[in-house]
């Protein structure tokens, strides 16, 4: 039962990334990220119960509280303050992005084969979905213009790496995880401040304007 539920959560994460690619409202994107993090937390909690590893409970709790609530709320406040609610035009339009993401998923799934338990194992599916999520996150980061979307893409990549770590090594040591968590929080805080500076300077979140600093 547990492997099924774990795969269900991982698949839910990949679906949420696809929905992120498919629409442009910033608030919805943030909510999707929050939902994705909660799925990850649920997955960690289930693995903690199944494998009797209590330190995963700590990770699950921190993921739920920080990535599920604190970071999304912080980002929503940033958006509220600067009053920009939409990704106006990504570098690549939605259908083309979706096609590219389909290709990335096929690549991610194809390379994650060759495990002893074959195509039916949990490892195959989780690694496949983790890699696909990470590739799509990277893709989002290069094709979107808004600084906030890029932060969300970065956070998605981080979630995907956590997913892969859970699926293959059944969790890194607690110290390493804590270190990653503080890195993420710090990154979000710094980037949040940076976004507001960018908006104050250029009256826009469009990062492509950063290449024209002179004049």
């Amino acid at each position: 039962m547990t492997p099924d539920l774990v795969i269900l959560c991982a698949a839910g994460m990949l679906v949420s990334v696809y929905l992120m690619v498919g629409q442009k409202a910033l608030f919805t994107t943030i909510r999707l990220y929050a939902g994705q993090s909660l799925l990850l937390a649920a997955m960690a909690a289930m693995m903690a119960v199944a494998d009797a590893r209590p330190h995963l409970f700590v990770m699950a709790g921190m993921t739920a509280v920080l990535k599920g609530f604190a970071i999304p709320l912080f980002l929503m406040r940033v958006i509220d303050r600067i009053g920009i609610h939409r990704e106006i035009e990504p570098f690549l339009n939605v259908p083309a992005s979706l096609l590219a993401c389909l290709g990335l998923t096929v690549v991610g799934y194809r390379v994650s084969t060759g495990f002893p338990e074959g195509d039916v194992g949990v490892t195959h599916h989780i690694l496949g979905m983790g890699l696909s999520t990470m590739l799509i996150g990277l893709f989002l980061m290069v094709t979107r213009r808004k600084a906030i979307t890029q932060i969300l893409a970065l956070l998605t990549v981080e979630n995907a790496i956590f997913l892969v770590a859970l699926g293959i090594t059944s969790g890194m040591p607690l110290v390493v995880e804590l270190g990653i968590f503080f890195d993420v929080i710090l990154a979000v805080l710094v980037l949040g401040v940076l976004v507001r500076r960018i908006v104050a300077r250029f009256e826009s979140m469009d990062v492509s304007r950063l290449s024209k600093l002179k004049g």
């Binding site: 039962m1 269900l8 498919g22 979706l98 998923t105 096929v106």
Partner: protein, 313 residues
Amino acid sequence: MEQALVIAAALLQGLGMLAVAPLLRGLIKKMKAALQTRQGPPLLQVYYDLAKLLRKEPVRSETASWVYVAGPRLYFAAGLAATTLVPVLVAAAPLETAGGVIGLVGILALGRFALATAALDTGSPFGGMGGSREMTIAALAEPALMLGLFTAALASGSLNLGAVVRHSLELGNSFHPSDVFALAGLFVVLIAETGRIPVDNPATHLELTMIHEAMVLEYAGPDLALVEWASAVKELLYITLLIDLFIPVGIASAIAPGPLAVAAGAWAAKVFVFAVVITLVESTNAKLRLFRVPELVAVALGLGFLALAIRFL
């Protein structure tokens, strides 16, 4: 004897779906009203409306030909015929020897085609516009529907819906990650095909962006009643299809009073859950701009393709 039984089952299932479908519409309307802290129309209002419309005299444009008259009738007949190809309470569709997934999609497409041509018939701009929009969205939603259905069919190795349900009941709670993607894709198709809010607004006749309502704007009386009724049946049919493919738990494998009662209860509960989800989606989303709708349906198409790809990888 055998044939008589099949025909009786098909009739019973078709009429049952006809009887229940308006209740689903009423339920969604009521729950939507509750979320807006309105009292809303009574639960049975859809039945009253249908009864009123059926009693009225049909008013048709002078320029209308037989195509205009045949449209709603074909649409209704197609909806009714489609219900006999889908397992509802028993793990077998009444007329499953007549056709499977492809037959179902074809019959639904036939109904849509009849209504769209009928909308063009009077030559009014609204009808033509609505018909063209409906077909634009259908052209994208239909492949997404096919991909989702094929994903489910791959597991059982049969395009027959009864066989698909029997196979997944035999395996117990088997689960493949591709189901998640197929379900997400088919849910978007459900929203698009039944004209729910991010795609179309079922509650108004007064928007320039309306799709289905624009197509049937000129119908009145019994003609309109047939269209409304068939649309309600179609909505219930899509929900039943999703239940069959992804959460078949509780469907009776033999015709006996006990399992049938359990199956009826389970089916009603699952339809109710879908109604709640649809209500929440309708209440929390704004209607999309018409030109953004293809993007949404493209997401469904992508998810369907992904589901199929993951089955193979």
